[in-house]
């Protein structure tokens, strides 16, 4: 197990190198830089000022030199300073993480709490009214884009009923309700269908029929056997969602003024704040490698037939 984890962590190095180089190159291909964005709409400034700013930020150097300089900084624990705020990139990035982590955790918990029971219910009540009703809910939930759900929730909970704030007031639970619900509705709609399909498939297997024939209660079969077998699918889905949520949900963060890394990333891209974008890229690479690693370990624990590092034939 330790050897496997070590190997996976070592894989992070080429992943990080590749992804940071690609993102660095792609930002240069975007056609403008921080200085262009800074002076673009604000007013006329002389070319000397523009050139001086570029030289100050090191943007006048060749691309590879810039990348090498950034990489050297990273290896020595220095992610640089933001071109925009002039503040330490690492500290700025870390200051945004609590909000993203809280939103991720709450959304995942809400999704699990909503989608698993409803998915099971739909499977158990297969082709009956409850199933049809939940399938319609799932269909609608999947069809609505996140920003639209956010606006609907705002209209109901904030403008009409005045129960919750539109804009977050810090990283508080009250402020987290609407963004969490927005994310959970879309994810629950998707997962409910998956849970329903997985549970239904299990329910149709011979061992369930056998258990029923032997007089084992349906609920016992469901909780002890069916759910356990369905967990693999659910864990895979959750792992993917956690990875994506930890990267921040820029639209939701922007709508609810939730001060997380997603919004920071989009703002940084808009302003071509390369050091901040690179920090985000490094974060995302680490997240996906770590989440996939934990998921693989969970697979092994849930089903010992799956051996770590070996694909099933």
């Amino acid at each position: 197990m330790k050897k496997y984890i070590g190997k996976r962590l070592l894989q992070l190095i080429p992943v990080l190198l590749g992804i940071t180089f690609l993102s660095f190159a792609m930002m240069r291909l975007a056609g403008s830089d921080t200085v262009t964005e800074m002076y673009g709409d604000k007013g006329a400034v002389s070319q000397q000022i523009i050139d001086a700013k570029r030289a100050e930020l090191g943007l006048d150097r060749p691309f590879l030199v810039q990348y090498g300089s950034w990489l050297k900084g990273l290896l020595t624990g220095n992610m640089g300073v933001s071109y925009v705020s002039g503040k330490n990139v690492f500290q700025t990035f870390v200051s945004k993480l609590p909000a993203t982590l809280l939103l991720t955790a709450l959304s995942i918990v809400a999704t699990v709490v909503i989608s698993i029971p409803l998915g099971i219910l739909a499977a158990v009540k297969h082709d009956r009214f409850t199933d049809y009703f939940l399938r319609v809910f799932s269909f609608v939930g999947n069809s609505l884009p996140n920003f639209f759900v956010a606006l609907l929730l705002m209209q109901l909970f904030s403008i009409r009923w005045k129960l919750l704030p539109v804009i977050s007031k810090g990283t508080t639970v009250q402020s987290a309700v609407l963004p969490t619900l927005t994310l959970a509705i879309a994810m629950s709609a998707k997962y409910m269908r998956q849970v329903r399909a997985t549970v239904l498939e299990e329910l149709n297997k011979d061992y369930v029929l056998g258990a029923k024939a032997r007089g084992v209660r349906g609920s016992v079969t469901l909780w002890k056997s069916v759910l356990k077998s369905s967990m693999l699918t659910i864990v895979t889905l959750l792992a993917l969602s956690i990875g994506s949520l930890l990267g921040g949900t820029a639209i939701i963060e922007s709508i609810f003024m939730w001060d997380g890394v997603g919004k920071l990333a989009v703002d940084s891209i808009t302003m071509r704040d390369y050091p901040m974008i690179q920090a985000y890229v490094v974060w995302m690479a680490i997240i996906y490698v770590m989440v996939n690693l934990i998921t693989d370990i969970l697979y092994h624990v849930l089903d010992p037939r799956i051996r770590l590092g070996v694909q099933e034939g």
């Binding site: 800074m38 007013g43 982590l101 809280l102 606006l151 705002m154 704030p165 539109v166 956690i242």
Partner: protein
Amino acid sequence: MKKTIAFLLTACLLLLMLAGCGSGKSGTETTTQSGSTAQTAAKKTMVIGDTTFNSENWEETVDPHRTYNGWASIRYGVGETLVHYTDTMELEPWLATDWTNDGNCTWTVTLREGVKFSSGRMMDGAAVKQCLEHLLENHDRAPGDTKIVDVQADGQVLTITTSEPNPALMNYLGDPYGCIIDVDASDFDNGIVAGTGPYVVKELVTDDHLTLVPNTYYWDGTPKLDELTIRTLSNGDTLSAALQAGDIDAAYGMAYEAYPNFENGGYQFSAIQTSRAFFGSMNMTSPVIQDAAVRKAIAMGINKEGFVKTLLDGHGVPANGAFPDGFSTFGGEHVKTETYDPEGAKAILEEAGWVDSDGDGIREKDGVKLTIRWLTYPSRQELPLLAESAQASLKEIGMDVDINCTANRREFLADMDSWDIYASALVTAPSGDPQYFFTTSCVPGMSYNFGAYDNPEVTALIEELSKEFDIAKRGEIAVKLQQMILDDNAYVFCSFLQMNMISGENVKNYTAHACDYYQVTAELDIE
């Protein structure tokens, strides 16, 4: 057992995520219950939602000596400048009571007596000298704009020397970067400065909020609010919903389409015409644009009234020249420009040999279709609409407009063969002085002269303007210059932005100003 391990691993994953949340400090200021209930209830607080106070807009702090942060400093009542702009953008005293020039490079500025910074330090010549020197050392545009090479202080009198005659010096010192701050008491690392304005920073979280409390040393009245919060809202829908839900009391930067939500009572609008012009710059190197008849026809073929009335729903003002009507002594009412006349435009094109020989509705000459490549960008909501409006109205006179609306317009601008008209938005007189626009946009080689416009007579007159100290004469030259560039049809000025600020009915004195600077004053109040 294994199930338990699986559960524990999953729980660990969630707990790890939650662990970082413990330090998440609320950005909301809670009202402490110290003192009597009556006192707590009487505390006047107000929240303004603003779409521009953010890093995206280079306003991440209130430090006026950093890029465009001065806008936040002056807008939210932290900083004040030596001079103030009137509603018609003329200069009037503020922290300076008087200023004179020797007709060359030396200015004598008398400072107002009895003004203190929020730090408690007296605002005297030495403090202002220190501030201006810090500005020149740290700000990117100030040294070039002001051309200041020396500042001397004697009591309340400053003697400023410029490297060359700079008649617009005091106008530039009215720019937000000219906010006078106490350098010794300012925290430049965190962008929090001690100014002379009615409010002082209590808390600043970039891209989230700015909390202000009254400056107890304020010299010009008593600030009415006990606490004022500026909330950064980058999403227009959120701004609208927050105002409707009562999360904020006033809003700056509302999108036009949200206005109907606030037009049926309960809210008030403060509207003012600004000098932010939406205009097209002709690419004078483009063969089709070099044809004077085509330029004239474009100027006559764009329906400015229709654009403002229909597409902007009346939230704008059609433009004559580079400056709005009534603007100082050189407003648009003093110049003559082409009026919307599609029939006249058709006749001009016919006369110049542009005819629709194949009956497809688009004119040709020497086998070349009359196609205009219209370059613009989407970050100003009016610009894509202007492009569509021009496309529709110019089609009526037989011109095909090919729109390229891109955030990457700089790349296209660099390639002069890729566009014919560049439509952009620019505050033509941010400091109330006309020279800025002409110098930056009409002199060959300057950064905003995108279309390579080059008229030696215009260039010579701009040079004359740069040396003229007499305000009345500067106005006359500015009118003459506008007329010359309009006669050349080098620019088509389409409209000016009408700025609207919306607030609840209980908000008092939340008033828009032509220069877009003075949003928060000591008189701002809420009932």
